[in-house]
Amino acid sequence: MASRIRVGLLFGNRQIREGRRLLLGTQPDFDLVYEGSDGALAVDELLGYNLDVVLVDNRLQNLSGLQTIQRFLRRHSGGRSHLPAFVLTGPFGSPEMELQAIRAGAIGTVTEEDSAQAVIDRVRRAGDSREVVDTGLVNQILANQGVLAGSNQRWLLRLTELPADEQRVLVAIGECIPFEEISNSTGLSIKRVNESLNSMQQRLGLATRHQLYVALFESGVLGS
């Protein structure tokens, strides 16, 4: 039996949440285990539900969706607990919103302009235990928003403080070596490569691979 995805719904509007519950409730591999409307409350209680994915509407009570994601990750990342992947949702999509969502710690967005099937697919992808960065899409968003490679030297300074193993992984990433081959090129095990990336995220104060990708791009390691 395929692994089930524990889904949380965070919507300020009860009826919109109900619509999403009806939709996602039809999927046999989804368990809807959390529903909420208050962003501030969600920051405190989400962790207790051991969620895989949280679909967050930007229109919440007390906090916006972006603020809720930011505060939750700031408070809980770096610990041993399993953190959910956040998907931000709202009425309209835009590259600006996509970038803001990634910076806040979401792994992407899905909007009401997208089809119902697209919403289901997005949640399912987010529920995959391994976070995969769609580099083409992220590059497109960065280009659209005028973010230049090497535009933030703050990241670069912090990257120079990495230990040797992580530096090797970083160099391999900079040479655009596919993730699967980084292990071969660096001589590190896949587990060690993953650990290096996790460690890199922690040192940079980042919660997701998407954030790490943007940071590496802004530092100039990628995209130059």
């Binding site: 509007n13 009826q15 039809t26």
Partner: protein, 419 residues
């Protein structure tokens, strides 16, 4: 000059001229006889022209002086009335012409003073003063000269002071008008901003309802495949949501419609006066004249006319020298309207640029004005606006004077409105 006669701008000048010519002429006639009356009439005629054609006025002042000498009369009462003419010229005329008139008055006065003092054909008694010898004549000439120069200079200075006084008073009034207009606009803007905020809030509410409808519909579509009972339940919810959204849209509709009525009205022909005030404050001597029987037009027609005039004066501001005259004439006929925006930007000229008034240059300017068609994005925009109301726009340079824009709307009465 024909237009000047046609527009009856000469009426007040004739009135002033008549008062002086007759009033002072009769006094001269009583004191010195018929010949003095003739000289007085010439001085009086100078009043007639001083405002529109000052050089003709100056000519008559000199002619009056010559006539006084030729007709062998003593300085006339009307001759002293020239001082008043000087005052008017300095107050309302151009500086260069008022200076010309001052010079003419002093020259004429000195000639007359000399004639009165030394001409032996006159009585040895001059207004009761016996002139026995050359020394006495000298004193008389000196006394008359100082008197004439003093009176003329004083009148000229007084006129200048009057001009400044009137300018300051008008500027103050115009500042008040502009300030009131600005305050009104600020209030309207504040009100409008408030409405935008409310409209934005209502829009958010509508958007949320639409989001709910969309997500409920999507959810129900999928859920109904598993449980058919979901469909009627969801339809009930959707009907409720649609009704709520309609209520919000209605509020938005009312708000937007009300704001259209209350918000700052688009400018119309009445606002040309305010435009003229602003131009005068900017340093352009601007007038707005309606000729003929004006009738009210629909707002879009008035807006188009206002915009054409506005663009035309903006063009003048770009190309003409500061301080030039801008005349905005709206000539109404039974069915149509002609809008003329004239400036004397070339004549006023920039001192830095200087005016090339050589014959060759004038001929070239004449030819260019006849052969070259004025074109550009500005004039094309005006033509497009005019075409909406079956109008046409022509623009041409008047050699040596300035630029004239001529917009003609032969059937503007189709856009007449009762209000």
């Amino acid at each position: 000059m024909f237009r000047w006669i046609q527009t009856r701008k000469w009426l007040p000048d004739v009135f002033i001229g008549a008062i002086f010519a007759l009033g002072l002429g009769i006094a001269d006639y009583v004191i010195q006889g018929r010949n003095a009356l003739y000289a007085s009439l010439l001085f009086g005629v100078s009043f007639f022209f001083f405002r529109e054609y000052p050089y003709i006025g100056i000519g008559f002042v000199l002619l009056g002086g010559v006539a006084t000498v030729l007709l062998a009369v003593a300085p006339t009462v009307a001759g002293f009335g020239i001082a008043f003419l000087l005052l008017l010229a300095a107050a309302f005329g151009r500086r260069v012409w008022s200076l010309g008139l001052l010079a003419a008055a002093i020259v004429s006065g000195l000639v007359l003073a000399h004639y009165a003092a030394y001409q032996t054909t006159l009585s040895t008694q001059f207004f009761g003063i016996s002139i026995y010898n050359n020394s006495g004549r000298g004193w008389l000439f000196t006394f008359l000269s100082i008197g004439i120069i003093g009176v003329s200079g004083f009148a000229w200075l007084l006129g200048g002071f009057l001009m400044e006084f009137l300018a300051q008073r008008n500027a103050s009034k115009e500042r008040d008008i502009v300030q009131r207009h600005n305050l009104r606009t600020m209030l309207e803007m504040a009100e409008q901003n408030q409405r935008f905020r409310i409209a934005s809030d209502i829009n958010d509410m509508v958007l949320e309802r639409v989001s709910a409808m969309l997500t409920l519909t999507d959810g129900a579509r999928y859920a109904a495949r598993i449980d058919a009972d979901v469909a009627p339940r969801t339809l009930d919810r959707l009907a409720e949501l649609i009704r709520e959204a309609q209520g919000e849209i209605r509020r938005l509709y009312d708000m937007l419609n009300r704001s259209v009525q209350v918000a700052a009205a688009p400018p119309n022909l009445n606002d040309l006066e305010l435009l003229a005030v602003q131009l005068r404050q900017d340093g352009y001597n601007t007038t707005v004249n309606h000729q003929g029987q004006r009738f009210a037009l629909i707002p879009s027609a008035e807006l188009a006319l206002y915009r054409i005039v506005f663009d035309a004066v903006e063009n003048v501001k770009q190309h003409a020298a500061l301080g030039c005259d801008i005349d905005i004439d709206l000539i109404w006929s039974e069915n149509g309207l002609q809008v003329l925006v004239k400036d004397n930007g070339i004549q006023a000229g920039s001192p830095a640029e200087g005016l090339d008034d050589s014959a060759e240059s004038l001929i070239r300017a004449d030819l260019e004005s006849l052969t070259q068609e004025v074109d550009g994005p500005g004039i094309r925009g005006m033509r497009e606006r005019a075409a909406l109301f079956q109008g046409s726009v022509e623009a041409h340079t008047v050699p040596g004077i300035g630029f004239t824009l001529n917009a003609i709307f032969p059937s503007i009465d189709h856009y007449r409105t009762a209000s």
